[in-house]
Symmetry: C2
Subunit: 195 residues, 2 copies
């Protein structure tokens, strides 16, 4: 049967935790696969905020949503960096977000020199975790295989490894015998945080 | 809800793959938790071979099975090392085993100086993987926290990382922000192996 792919694994983690009607975030829209999956998890009364710094990514995401008949007002497509989550989300939603998903690296089929950068990614993780409700999920798919990817992966590994156990639980899910394969890092916010 | 514990994760991997009526192995009986779980997965027509080098572990396993009303003839308790799997299993079962589970380290509540050793553990992994049927599961829970555990963990990590992709898929599942916590390494044998 094979083990779950990292994409399947990330979506399983999300669908087990996201509640219908809540607000969630795709921090890196890319081709829109996560954004579309998130609209189904939150259902018709939920909202998805979807970020990307490339107009091309937002267009591809928009097309994918239209093809799937997702109502236009259910997703906010924002031409912003993943380290602008906090300023872009309404204050009232802070601490109430059900999940934030990241896919690091570059836009498949896009410009491979436009990649997520370690420093802004780390800022983005801090912001994403702060935005979560208790029990909320931060899930990052890391791509160590492209130039610059390994350094970013190491920094993101450190971020999850250093998460205070009082603030949340952190796990990794990884294919071991495929060099440079993407892997999943995830954190669940504690119900009572002492951060 | 929290993430699955490593014990739960290992059992989920096993129950998704083990078929009723087949033969499986607990390579390190310990307190018998895996052996008991395996008897339920293979059902009344299946068989479990359970290995441990400590009589105390086999006694504890036997007590646990009796308490749970497992028929005595369903489990073979063998006072042998995990690197004697191949010689202990009937030749006819070689290449037909559904799963082999390992829990490394020492017997909880037993003598903490009696620990699994890297060299025999690596031999045991080679044997276990050879015994599997196509689609069969090798699942190892690694304990890096005790003296000697870290070295063994590194060697077992290497074994899984070096598994040829043509022979099988290998994954890890790990808590990241609990220092020295146990973690799971697992491999699924390919349906067509070219080993």
């Amino acid at each position: 049967m094979g083990f779950w792919s990292v994409l399947t694994y990330a979506h399983k983690l999300a669908e087990q935790r996201i509640k219908p009607g809540e607000t969630v975030i795709d921090a890196t829209a890319g081709t829109g696969a996560d954004t579309l999956a998130l609209t189904r998890m939150v259902g018709p009364k939920g909202n998805v905020y979807s970020f990307d710094i490339q107009q091309e990514a937002l267009e591809r995401t928009r097309s994918r949503l239209i093809e799937a008949d997702v109502p236009a007002d259910q997703v906010q497509l924002l031409l912003l960096s993943h380290d602008q989550l906090q300023e872009a989300l309404p204050i009232a939603s802070h601490g109430r977000i059900g999940a934030v998903l990241f896919n690091l690296g570059y836009l498949p089929g896009g410009d491979p020199t436009v990649i997520t950068q370690p420093d802004s990614t780390i800022r983005a993780l801090d912001q994403a975790f702060d935005l979560l409700r208790p029990g909320g999920l931060l899930c990052v798919t890391v791509y160590p295989g492209h130039p610059g990817g390994e350094l970013e992966a190491a920094k993101v590994d450190d971020w999850f490894s250093q998460l205070r156990p009082e603030a949340g639980q952190a796990i990794s899910y990884r294919m071991l015998n495929r060099r440079s394969a993407p892997y999943v890092l995830a954190a669940e916010k504690k119900h009572i945080t002492q951060k």
